[in-house]
């Protein structure tokens, strides 16, 4: 014990680290910060979990376009611990994305971005962007079929940037086609460049938190006035401040521990996402769907009006970025309480509703043809031979089924045709099939007149009971 003590005091004398760490940990913070303030530290913790599990994965993963898939199979199937680590890395990513978003919403609702913490918000915006890029590149270094198509989709998006689009797309792909360079580059972004930026900006972010102090919980009737804010804040800390450690920090520790336990449990019980098929760009039997945090964005692409699409694809993220960056400059003073800023509340509610709606629709993806729809059986068709039966078979064979459902079989892109016979006459049916319209291809040049009449006979027999 004595030896430990004297070693510590020697170390502190020669480095000063213990004293300065102590004073940092015990710096005064405003009282009453409650549980609202735990999300920032939890995001940091999730990031540290990512760093640790990421390093562990790097011990087993081969960042080569030709071999990464096999190494992932090895990690996921042939080692117990590898599977858990991959699971933690996956659920840690989900946690980090969710927490960084909650942290941002909390800061926004409490208007903690106002004077003098504008730079804290801006560094936070950079960290948010980095987290999103980590999410994307992380999904991509899980080098399976979906990864390959995700890169192409990303390249096509940046391809819409005027003038330099094609160059940007080739920059993303690492050449003109998917190949040996693609994964190496994604790996370098995911493992060196973006984490490096995150480290730098977290350092900056934390330095600012220490320099300006965490914002006190907002109170109605106490607006921020840049002229007096710092003095009032200092005064308040002197009078009512409590040491960060342990008065406030214990909540961070409790919440942080729960986050880690949750990540570990999910990793063990649910495990990492299944590896898809091998990353073979010539295997077209693919249905690329992004990880959950990008599903809402994916849905947006299906719903954007095609004429505006290029503008939205490029302009959307740009406008969002500009809005986030300009927020603390547009309003850096005045009331902070969310009760006095109803529009801030409205913005959050609207954003959450819009994202949830896009999510819900993105998960069911009604716009995608159901290639694996089960063909209509004779039972559904109702007869086993004749015109109507053959029409039912044509419904299966001509792709109608991929987009239209009948009695619960088939896709959702077009209207449900279970009782179309009660809605449309034979002539109307014929006309629609021939000419298409409203997102339906014209089948005039595809069907023979014999096929057409059988199909119409079949559809006309679909009536309300």
């Amino acid at each position: 014990m004595r030896i430990l003590k004297s070693t510590m005091s020697w170390l502190d004398d020669r480095t000063g680290l213990i004293t300065s760490m102590g004073s940092i940990m015990r710096h005064p913070v405003p009282p009453g910060s409650a549980w609202f303030y735990v999300f920032g530290s939890a995001t940091l913790l999730a990031f540290l979990v990512q760093v640790a599990t990421g390093i562990a994965l790097a011990f087993m993963y081969v960042p080569s376009s030709g071999e990464a898939y096999q190494s992932l199979q090895f990690i996921s199937n042939d080692t117990t611990i590898g599977r858990v680590v991959r699971g933690m890395h996956n659920w840690g990513a989900s946690a980090m994305i969710a927490l960084v978003f909650i942290h941002m919403v909390q800061v926004y609702l409490f208007a903690a971005y106002k004077y003098p913490r504008e730079m804290n918000w801006l560094t936070g915006v950079v960290l948010l962007a980095c987290t999103v890029v980590m999410g994307f590149t992380g999904q991509v270094v899980r080098w399976d079929q979906t990864a390959v198509w995700s890169i192409i989709v990303a390249a096509e998006q940046v391809g819409r940037v005027p003038l330099i689009g094609t160059s940007l797309a080739h920059f993303v792909i690492g050449g003109e086609t998917i190949g040996g360079a693609t994964l190496s580059r994604m790996f370098a972004y995911h493992v060196f460049i973006i984490p490096g930026l995150i480290f730098i900006f977290i350092g900056f972010h934390l330095y600012l938190v220490l320099r300006d102090g965490i914002s006190e919980p907002p109170e109605i009737g106490k607006p921020v006035d840049p002229k007096t804010y710092r003095d009032t804040y200092e005064e308040m800390l002197k009078q009512k401040g409590v040491p960060f450690w342990p008065d406030a920090a214990w909540r961070d520790v409790v919440f942080g521990c729960s986050v880690i336990v949750a990540i570990l449990l999910l990793a063990i019980i649910v495990g990492p996402p299944e590896l898809g098929k091998p990353p073979d760009p010539s295997n077209l039997d693919a249905l690329p769907v992004p990880d959950w945090y990008f599903v809402f964005y994916f849905a947006l692409f299906a719903l954007m009006p095609p004429e505006l699409e290029s503008y939205l694809m490029v302009g959307g993220p740009l406008v969002l970025g500009i809005l986030l960056i300009s927020l603390p400059f547009i309003s850096n003073r005045g009331e902070r309480s969310p009760l006095r800023r109803p529009w801030a509340f409205a913005v959050v509610v609207f954003a959450i509703m819009a994202i949830s709606a896009l999510w819900a629709i993105g998960i069911s993806s009604p716009w995608s043809p159901h290639f694996d729809a089960k063909p209509l059986t004779a039972e559904v068709i109702g007869v086993t031979s004749g015109h109507i039966y053959e029409g039912g078979q044509l419904f299966n064979d001509k792709g109608c089924l991929y987009c239209h459902a009948i009695s619960g079989h088939g896709g959702q892109r077009g209207p449900d045709l279970t009782d179309v016979g009660s809605r449309l006459s034979s002539n109307e049916l014929t006309w629609r099939i021939m000419n298409g319209g409203l997102n339906m291809p014209a089948f005039g040049g595809i069907l023979t007149s014999d096929e057409l009449s059988k199909l119409v006979a079949f559809l006309h027999s679909r009536r309300k009971p």
């Binding site: 030709g66 920059f171 040996g180 693609t182 693919a286 792709g399 089948f443």
Partner: protein
């Protein structure tokens, strides 16, 4: 005289400061140029195109549309299966072929040929194309791209070229 010395010192100090800043800048640039150069190298690659055989002419039925795969124009040795690309090939005459890109003109997802319906369908956002590659429905802003294709010495050859990128 004293004044002069002072200005002289000041000038000397200013000069040294400027010199140090300039040298640091140069040193930084000396490191940055090769580093950044290697990162953006893909932008300066020459366009790669090579004719790749995808099978004998007779092995394709006239009128049928089938998937063929071929190796990219200049694959890296460690590319493995990622060096492969695919196309939808249709024989339209004795020696005449059409080769459609498999990349949807919307955002590049792999379109499938639905033989019964004579349509190409995209799994991502519901883009559909007619037999000739023109848009039938959904978000694609233009028809399917085509690869140059030829019959050469009894072999069908496709010009392996870059992934088509739809631009504004």
């Amino acid at each position: 005289m004293k004044e002069n010395t002072k200005t002289g010192e000041c000038n000397r100090r200013e000069f040294l400061a400027k010199l140090s800043i300039a040298l640091s800048g140069i040193a930084g640039a000396l490191v940055a140029i090769p580093v950044i150069g290697s990162i953006i190298a893909p932008l300066f690659q020459k366009r790669q195109e090579v004719w790749r055989s995808v099978g004998a002419v007779e092995s394709f039925e006239i009128g049928a549309t089938v998937q063929v795969s071929f190796i990219d124009a200049s694959p890296l040795l460690w590319a493995g299966i990622t060096a492969k690309s695919a196309a939808w090939l249709r024989r339209v005459g004795e020696e005449e072929f059409i080769a459609f890109s498999v990349n949807c003109a919307h955002l590049g997802c792999p379109v499938r040929w639905i033989a019964g319906a004579k349509l190409f369908m995209c799994p991502c956002h519901g883009g559909v194309y007619y037999e000739d590659g023109s848009v039938a429905s959904g978000p694609p802003p233009r028809g399917l791209y085509q690869y140059p294709v030829r019959a050469n010495n009894g072999q069908v050859e496709i010009l392996a070229s870059p992934i088509p990128i739809t631009t504004t």
